[in-house]
């Protein structure tokens, strides 16, 4: 083999990069993206990701419906979102380009697999088959690199025993190898991953390794790529990190909560996007006394969890909007029984089946108000993948210590997104104390609904001698729990149950701003997964000299007692939500503030620029700038 003298390649430094991988849902895009994420995280970058996949598992190949994307934002600075716009767009076919070009910065880089732009792919992507965007000059405002990934991968795998289809499956490793080269990263992490994954399939392992190396070497030797980039490690707090997605965070938070309460964890669940990963994760941890029960439907999922809690475990169920709707009646039962239960809603676009793989925050009212009778249930929300851990832990804590069902809201955006997590030591997690009772609490009698000063009833478990009692969904007499239709007793019980839930606010830590002045022109109030975009925008606005603060609401019901007074300290209040203004209406009703909304209902998260524009519009109402991108 002839040795070629390579011109040394330039290395340019970047503070942060947003890269978007896109291809057919069968192209291995999610794997490519997550491997590059892990490589960067291991190097020391701060990262944030946004996987975006189609609802259909295998939509027709080459079509827009089948495009799968994975956006990664990594940097040498703190990263709060997966990035508003991509610096680099890697596309495996014409449909992927068409679906994602709008997300690329002007002047951004396109790396396109030319094989995915043949006549058939062009036609499938819904454009004339003789108009190839790679050659017709329409992409002139971008830096376009056309690479025949398919051919190069096949060449690299010549001589292996694999069939053509299997060879082509290694294309994603070629791309990953090339991107590793482009950003001055090693292949080592992915090589280790492949060795574990394909330890029993040596020929597949060998092919993937070869494709990975070939991709890397292609960067090294190709004349067209003259520049590599370097993103230095971020000044992250010292410590040991791992990568975590929101659904993993939720699962681990639930297990940690159960462990700290010394309870077995029972998870009743029916598969639903985007919540199923919680079931998958929990089912792997039976050695923690975790029992997963894939129920026949959503109703049985929550019903079984209530039965488990009745038996003395912490019963948990999770779903998304449509499934939560089915659980509503049983939530009322759990509320009425006053039994610990955690209900997780990984929200997706609604109503009805809606947008299963897209994100939204439109189930807030469902969580707070969606039951017959007056059945207030605490509602808390997670803001980031890491926060899913924190809030899931808190959900168990509130449920167990206050004998109540608790609803935890996350959403598809943070459930599938990931970030580096400086995970806690278990000893630093709070102990959780169930309100057990050892014997009769009223002379020689046991009153199952005799409350303590927080309004909490005791938890007597089947098997405890002398504490036999009956509970149910029918209105019960105060203290005894016996059936009662007495009018005054009913009113008393409705009030007692509401007071008990209201008192949960007594345990919250004082509310504090996420950033900004303690009083001033404008307060941005966020909740849930809008956190990263709002934080990024607020920090930027503060830097630009605006009197803008940001508070993020974790407890949506009951509210933190400090929230009302805080709202009054700003002339204007803006509430960005991925719905038509649900928190806004609640805050207006509760605190009589003239809060304004910034609402995006596109199944896609806010960009920080959209938030920034919304704030600027409210600060100086003219000239009007469009608040949402479209």
């Amino acid at each position: 083999m002839a040795t070629t003298i390579q011109k040394p390649k330039l290395v340019e430094s970047r503070e942060n990069v947003v890269i978007l991988f896109a291809g057919d849902s069968g192209d291995g895009i999610q794997l490519t993206g997550s491997q590059f994420t892990d490589t960067n995280a291991l190097f020391g970058n701060d990262v944030s990701t946004f996987p975006n996949f189609p609802a259909e598992i295998r939509a027709p190949q080459g079509t827009l419906a089948g495009v799968s994307g994975y956006q990664l934002h990594f940097g040498s600075v703190e990263i709060f979102t997966p990035g508003d716009q991509a610096d680099v767009l890697v596309v495996m076919n014409a449909a992927a380009l068409k679906a994602n070009l709008g997300k690329l910065k002007t002047g951004g880089t396109i790396i396109a697999n030319t094989d995915g732009f043949d006549k058939k792919n062009l036609r499938l992507s819904g454009q004339p088959e003789d108009v190839d965007p790679l050659t017709d000059g329409s992409l002139a405002q971008y830096q376009l690199h056309s690479v025949d990934v398919t051919k190069l991968t096949r060449n690299a795998l010549e001589g292996t025993t694999l069939g053509m289809k299997e060879k082509d499956r290694c294309k994603n490793m070629f791309v990953l190898g090339f991107i590793n080269w482009m950003y001055s990263r090693e292949n080592a992490l992915t090589e280790g991953f492949l060795q574990r994954k394909f330890s029993k399939k040596p020929d597949i392992l060998e092919a993937n390794m070869k494709a990975l190396v070939a991709g890397y070497n292609y960067g090294e030797t190709s004349e067209t790529f003259t520049t590599r980039f370097e993103v230095k490690a971020a000044p992250m707090p010292k410590g040991t990190y791992r990568s975590i997605t929101g659904n993993q965070g939720t699962a681990l938070g639930l297990i940690a909560g159960a462990q700290k309460a010394k309870l077995d964890l029972f998870y009743g669940s029916y598969p639903i996007t985007p919540a199923s990963d919680i079931l998958h994760e929990l089912s792997r941890h039976k050695n923690f006394g975790v029992i997963t029960f894939q129920a026949e439907d959503e109703i049985a999922a929550i019903g079984s969890a209530i039965g488990a809690s009745y038996g003395g475990a912490i019963g948990i169920t999770a779903s998304s909007g449509p499934g939560i709707a089915l659980k509503t009646e049983a939530m009322g039962l759990a509320f009425m029984l006053e039994i610990p239960l955690v209900i997780v809603n990984v929200q997706r676009g609604g109503p009805s089946t809606g947008l299963p793989t897209r994100t939204e925050q439109a189930d807030l009212w469902q969580a707070v108000f969606g039951r017959n009778g007056e059945a207030p249930i605490p509602v808390i929300a997670a803001s980031t993948p890491i926060d899913c851990f924190e809030m899931a832990f808190e959900a168990v804590q509130i449920a167990v210590e206050h004998m109540t069902p608790v609803i935890l809201l996350t959403d598809g955006y943070i459930a599938n997104g990931s970030e580096p997590w400086r995970f806690p030591a278990s000893k630093n997690l709070a102990e959780i104390n169930p309100p057990y009772i050892k014997g009769p609490n009223d002379g020689d009698k046991f009153l199952p609904y005799l409350r303590d000063e927080r309004g909490v009833r005791p938890w007597a478990l089947p098997g405890q001698p002398g504490l036999q009692h009956r509970i149910g969904g029918i209105e019960k007499q105060d203290r005894t729990g016996n059936i009662s239709y007495d009018p005054l007793n009913h009113e008393k019980m409705v009030r007692l149950r509401a007071e008990k839930v209201a008192k949960i606010a007594d345990r919250y830590k004082p509310i504090r701003l996420d950033s900004g002045p303690t009083e001033g022109e404008l307060l941005v109030v966020g909740w849930g997964s809008t956190y990263g975009a709002i934080r990024t925008a607020a920090l930027q606005l503060q830097q630009e000299g605006h009197s803008v603060a940001h508070v993020h609401v974790r407890h949506l019901f009951p509210f933190n007692k400090g929230l009302g007074p805080m709202l009054k300290k700003y002339k204007k209040v803006l509430i960005p939500e991925m719905n038509s203004g649900q928190l806004r209406q609640m805050l207006r009703a509760e605190f009589l503030v003239d809060a304004q909304g910034l609402n995006k209902i596109q199944g896609m998260p806010f960009t920080s620029e959209e938030i920034r524009t919304g704030v600027l519009n409210l600060l100086s109402p003219t000239p009007k700038v469009s608040a949402t991108s479209e």
Binding site: L42, G44, A233, M236, P237, K238, G239, T240, Y241, R242, I244, I255, A256, Q259, D264, F266, G268, H285, K286, N287, F288, G289, V290, I291, F293, A295, E296, I299, A300, I302, G303, S304, A305, I306, G307, A308, Y310, G312, A313, G315, E329, A330, G332, L333, L337, F423, P424, S426, P462, G463, Q464, P465, G466, Q468, R470, I471, G472, G473, N482, I483
Partner: protein, 344 residues
């Protein structure tokens, strides 16, 4: 009861009735069932605190309030779900599920079949009165076609469920039928159900004297009982009408034959084998409308028993295996995960 040196010593008498006033209509068949269950538990030697009754909604579902045990009166049709969760985490408890024809077969139809296929260890007492009682007299999924009720003034056009055929179809592991008017039989069946490890389902014909009085009198009243009710016993031929008639299997088809002198000999009759799944599938199909000419008698007793493993036994085995393989859960190791990196 326990037996020492051949003499039977009665266990200490425990009263399983609660302090709550029973509020079923006077004359309701539920009273008889309550009494037999209390008697059985009193004789079983079980402790009150280790027994749990879970019910759905309906007249029968008030049952837990009348037992001095742990009890949960849940929501319509969902008792099997609650039972599944409870049994999964507390396999040592004695769990009883009280349900009715509307609760189990209409609103809770999906749950009951999955309970049966999973085979959780619970005794299900299905009070079948072929009517909605608590909502005051609408037809139920077991009401016969033509039933005139408040919601079917021209007669029901719905074909009814054959409950035990449904249970057999869902691979129930203990399938039995009894009646409120035969306390001794009911007690025997309850004891068998209690002894079975797995989902024991007993369909109990229960008279609703207010909205559907006499629905089962052809099976329960002295005058008709011998001709219409067939009491099956393991290893014994299927006979009725005081032994004068029997059931013979002609291939797969059961036929009624005479057994007196000159008739079919007992050995040629269908000998009941409660372990025979195929025969049980035929037995549950003896479901003729007794009003029709030449109707086959309706069987009572234990139709079928199967010892396949319970859900909770298999679950417990998986948890034990996971603990053996991975050791007891180490929370710090879990939080750390498989891949970490260190900064600083």
């Amino acid at each position: 009861m326990s037996t020492t040196n051949g003499t039977t010593v009665p266990a200490e008498k425990i009263d399983f009735s609660s302090d709550q006033e029973v509020r079923w209509c006077p004359g309701c068949g539920d009273y008889s069932i309550l009494k037999q269950v209390q008697t059985l538990l009193e004789q079983s030697g079980k402790k009150k605190e280790e027994v749990v009754f879970i019910s759905g909604i309906g007249c029968s579902s008030r049952f837990p309030y009348y037992m001095d045990t742990y009890g949960l009166h849940s929501i319509h049709g969902r008792a099997p779900a609650l039972v599944s969760g409870l049994r999964s985490v507390r396999p040592e408890l004695s769990v009883w599920m009280i349900t009715g024809d509307g609760d189990a077969l209409s609103i809770g139809g999906n749950h009951i079949i999955h309970l049966l296929r999973r085979n959780l260890d619970v005794n299900v007492l299905l009070f079948n009165n072929e009517i909605y009682g608590l909502t005051k007299g609408q037809y139920s999924p077991t009401s016969p076609e033509g039933a005139v009720t408040r919601s079917t003034p021209m007669g029901s056009i719905d074909h009814p469920f054959n409950p035990l055929a449904l249970v057999k179809g869902a691979d129930g592991t203990f399938i039995a039928r009894s009646m409120d008017r035969d306390p001794k039989h009911m007690r025997e069946i309850l004891a068998r159900a209690d002894a079975h490890r797995g989902t024991s389902l007993i369909e109990i014909y229960q008279n609703c004297n207010v909205f559907n009085d006499g629905a089962f009198e052809v099976f329960t009243e002295k005058a008709n009982k011998p001709l219409n009710a067939l009491f099956v016993e393991h290893g014994k031929p299927l006979t009725f009408a005081n032994g004068t008639r029997g059931i013979k299997l002609n291939g797969m088809t059961p036929v009624v034959v005479d057994t007196y002198a000159g008739g079919t000999s007992l050995e040629d009759l269908w000998i009941h084998d409660e372990r025979d799944s195929f025969k049980a599938s035929i037995l549950v199909r003896l479901f003729d409308d007794p009003r029709l000419e030449g109707a086959m008698p309706r069987p009572f007793g234990v139709f079928y028993v199967n010892d396949r493993a319970t859900h909770e036994a298999k679950l417990g085995a998986q948890v034990a295996l996971a603990k053996e393989r991975k050791g007891p859960g180490d929370l710090d190791a879990l939080l750390k995960g498989e891949h970490t990196w260190t900064i600083g």
